[in-house]
């Protein structure tokens, strides 16, 4: 609370100071949201160190994003040290919900690098454009052509990684014309088990994935555009070495149709309306694992219909964004256990009791240009959120724990935030305050005996949970001049009714060998503090030095540590860039995890540091251009795991990769 007060006071003083100094001039809004560019928009993949890395690897570059790893595949993004429940991940504004009760299929696992052009990362309440969030949001932007003179482009992408024999093969075909564009791409990845440092094989870490994507844009006059988009993604035989179960199938179909209106010479800059539908099927089972006490299947399904209509307009010194959005999601998951005695009936339960979530909300953002140097941003959102248990079987199951539970629960969500930004010559800073709320996730509200293998407890949802609320204060300042850039940012989230699973000693676990049962409960308060500092120095035209250090703390109402909070972490690199050749040497590491909580299954993860080198070369042969990327990750073959590795599953050891992109 003290920290908040200090920030609040600083903030009010700064508001007062700028209000004394009103100048009439227009200034370009400096956008402090973070954007990571992926893929081949504006030929950016040429600059990426690993052009065919996974989406997860790209996102991880952000100082605000980290990844919880349960194996080599489908890492779970965490933003500001908050995982899926507290964040919002969208693909071009579309809400998509994973179908796995064990969070083995984050949205990011259903796309490919080649589908995407960039990821917009918004920290905290600012991320509320497409729904409620506390920690922030990632919007993955689709890759697409623009209209122009008739042109066909073909591209072949292929790669190989030695550590897990990962083979990457893909192709893309892009057509553009004056009225239409069509982008299609296919990508296939296949990997065996990976080896941690010291050549120790990590069993059940293989995966196989195919992704097909298509976008068609049609312009029927200069200001109106219709675009359809489709992503089909199918992963099979995916191992999760940190868990007791693997995935035989994770399949998604993500579709949308968009209408965009971009009038010329109007206050309306852009008006975009999209209708979307996506369906996910996720089959988790343990048939490939030997010696399990009982075999089980845990399939899940998630379907979402939705729309948004987003309007951008300017009025005098205001740039306003209004987004109306709505979605309807159906989440079902089952568990079937097969008794060792074949004459016995199978054991069946709904782990997600066919929960229908219906959300309707509005988000309004106003960037107000105060003067040459300062802008004030104000944003707010309101939404109604309803959960309904559609299965009688599922409802009766939940009523074992909550006899008076109703099938439907309606709640209202709101958020409010304001940020002041000041830029003067090379110096800038921003100050923000926000309040945000989020509803419990399907698992938190309605999960039925969901086993968390990290802490070893069966988790039971709680339909009576109130909204989780947070007050957020953020501060960022930086300096940018010639060859030197530095930025320091920090955010502090003070939570009320923080949702976490707490042990209920009376309940008996269902899972064989589980430590007990936890029920999702709202802690009176909790807090998360994030900070990072990054700097870039151009040593010469060819040499560039980068460093990024972050640190976070998370505490619950008893001042005990929250789980999955990053210890001090750093990355630093030197890059050499000349003509068509780049090479980079980088060091990445964490300090020892001294603020851990054994109650949540954590231990004191030791510090680590790994070195990687990579280089890229671009050349042309007649009309064909080649981009080659070669690198060695974890050069010293260090055996390590991090705070975010599920049950200390070791990370990949030495890995040599080669990526080749050929454009015809």
């Amino acid at each position: 609370m003290k920290n908040i007060l200090i920030l609040l006071v600083t903030y009010l003083i700064s508001l007062w100071s700028f209000s004394q100094n009103k100048e009439q001039d227009s200034v370009k809004i400096t956008n402090l949201e973070e954007i990571i560019l992926i893929g081949h928009k504006a030929a950016l993949y040429e600059k990426e160190i690993k052009s065919l890395g996974t989406v997860d690897e790209f996102l991880q570059q952000s100082s605000k994003v980290d990844m919880i790893k349960r194996g080599a595949y489908a890492w779970e993004p965490i933003i500001n040290n908050m995982a899926t429940e507290r964040t919002l991940i969208t693909i071009d504004g579309m809400r998509i919900f994973g179908a796995c009760t064990d969070k083995m299929d984050p949205i990011t696992s259903y796309v490919e690098v080649t589908n995407l052009s960039e990821a917009t990362i918004n920290s905290g309440q600012e991320g509320g454009l497409f729904g409620s969030t506390i920690g922030g949001s990632i919007d993955l932007k689709r890759n697409k052509s623009t209209f122009g003179e008739n042109q066909w482009k073909y591209q072949i992408n292929s790669g190989f990684e030695t550590n897990n024999s990962q083979k990457i093969v893909g192709a893309s075909l892009n057509y553009r014309g004056k009225k239409i564009y069509v982008d299609t791409d296919v990508m296939h990845r296949n990997a065996n088990n990976y080896k941690a440092g010291n050549n120790s094989e990590v069993l059940y870490s293989q995966f196989n994935k195919i992704n097909v994507s298509n976008t068609i844009g049609f312009k029927y006059n200069d200001s109106k555009l219709i675009e359809t988009s489709l992503i089909y993604d199918k992963a099979t035989n995916v191992g999760y070495p940190a868990l007791t179960m693997d995935v035989s199938l994770a399949k998604s179909l993500i579709t949308s149709i968009k209408y965009e209106y971009k009038p010329l010479n109007s206050n309306i800059k852009n008006w975009e309306t999209k209708l979307y539908f996506n369906t996910i099927e996720h089959k988790m089972d343990d048939t490939t694992r030997p010696n399990v006490p009982i075999h089980m299947d845990m399939p899940g399904w998630s379907e979402t219909f939705g729309y948004y209509s987003k309007l951008n307009f300017t009025k005098e010194k205001h740039q306003v964004l209004v987004n109306l959005n709505s979605f309807y999601n159906k989440s079902v998951a089952e568990m079937t256990m097969y008794p060792n005695n074949p004459n016995e009936n199978i054991m069946f339960m709904y782990t997600w009791p066919d929960v229908r979530t219906f959300y309707n909300g509005i988000f309004i953002n106003d960037d107000f240009i105060i003067n040459n140097n300062s802008t004030l941003n104000v944003s707010t959102s309101f939404g109604s959120h309803s959960n309904k248990v559609a299965s009688d079987f599922g409802l009766q199951s939940m009523q074992i724990f909550y006899p008076n539970m109703e099938a439907q629960k309606v709640r209202f969500l709101k958020s409010f935030g304001t940020k002041y930004k000041y830029v003067k010559s090379a110096f800038y800073y921003s100050l923000g305050m926000a309040y945000s709320e989020r509803p419990p996730s399907v698992s938190e509200g309605y999960g039925f005996y969901l086993y968390n293998s990290f802490d070893g407890f069966d988790n039971i949802g709680n339909p009576n949970l109130t909204n989780e609320k947070a007050i957020e204060a953020s501060l960022s300042f930086g300096f940018e001049k010639d060859r030197f850039k530095v930025n320091a940012s920090t955010s502090y989230f003070s939570f009320f009714d923080y949702i976490i699973a707490i042990t209920n000693p009376v309940l008996v676990p269902m899972t064989i060998g589980a430590n007990g049962v936890r029920v999702y409960t709202a802690l009176e308060n909790a807090s998360i503090f994030n900070s990072s500092i990054s700097s870039e120095i151009n040593l010469s035209n060819a040499f560039k030095y980068n460093i990024q250090v972050s640190y976070a703390r998370g505490k619950d109402n008893n001042n005990d540590n929250l789980p999955f909070i990053s210890p001090l972490s750093y990355t630093t690199s030197v890059r050499f860039n000349k003509n068509q050749f780049t090479t980079e040497l980088s060091l990445r590491g964490n300090a020892i995890q001294s603020h851990y909580n054994p109650e949540y299954g954590e231990d004191k993860t030791p510090s680590y540091a790994v070195i990687s080198i990579n280089s890229g070369y671009k050349f042309k042969f007649q009309t064909t251009s080649f981009i080659t990327k070669v690198g060695i990750e974890n050069v010293l073959d260090t055996y390590y795991s991090t705070y975010a590795d599920w049950k200390n599953i070791p990370r990949m050891g030495r890995n040599i990769y080669i990526n080749l992109n050929i454009s015809l």
Binding site: I216, I257, P339, M347, F348, I400, F448, I512, G513
Partner: protein, 283 residues
Amino acid sequence: MKFQLKKTAILLIVILAFTSCSTSDDAQPIVDELEGLTMFTEMVNDTHAIELYSENSGLSQGYNTIKLRIKDKVTNTYIQNAQVSWMPIMHMAMMNHSCPKSEITQMANESNLYEGFIMFQMAQNDTEYWDLKIDYTINNVNYTVSEVIDVPASDKRTVNSFMGTDNVRYVVALIEPNDPKVAVNDMTVGVWKMQDMMTFPVVDGFTVKFDPRMPSMGNHSSPNNVNATQTSAGDLYYGKLSLTMTGYWKISLQLVNAENTVLKGEEITDTVSESSIFFEIEF
């Protein structure tokens, strides 16, 4: 975009499905007394045929709800307002005994059906059998009919017959749930004591403690069960049974008297995986 169209169509259908109201059918169907019942035997004497019905295909060891009607063989009509009683007898090698049973009452005025229950605590076997004697009075004339009936063993244990620590022989039987669900099930248990070979009165004021477990799944239990107790003397015992998933459940029992003394049955602990008295449910 074929997919798109298809999904849009589905969306429209879903919206229509959600918005269109369903109207309930107001027409009351004619009540068929025999709906859901199966005649499993017909007992015949010179004047009447007694038709015996159950909701299952016949009788079995354990608690049986039985419905019957009395047909006049001459007029082919069913007799109402008769006074009916019954006596099931087990014929064993060395002795005969009866079992807990209810009175028989006409189900409603104007109804042809009479109803009661019999709780067979043991099944027939190659040499031992049950017979059923039904006595009934119509217009002050007494009639009787008696026949051997078929009482096969039940698949799952629903009856426990045992000697309590107070040297009284008790019979504890599972009556409900008949159709168990993954839910909090209403549980009905009958508790009788054997006063003599032919008399099995209801025991009053006891508690049937129970603990449902899944032996195939680490012997886990379920939460929020409520022990079975009586609401009034002479009544059956009612409790709440939570079943958290389908499959095979073993419900360990303890019979506790009004003084809170355990007369039979053990508590489940790390070393005791089941009680000596239990019910089985599989669904």
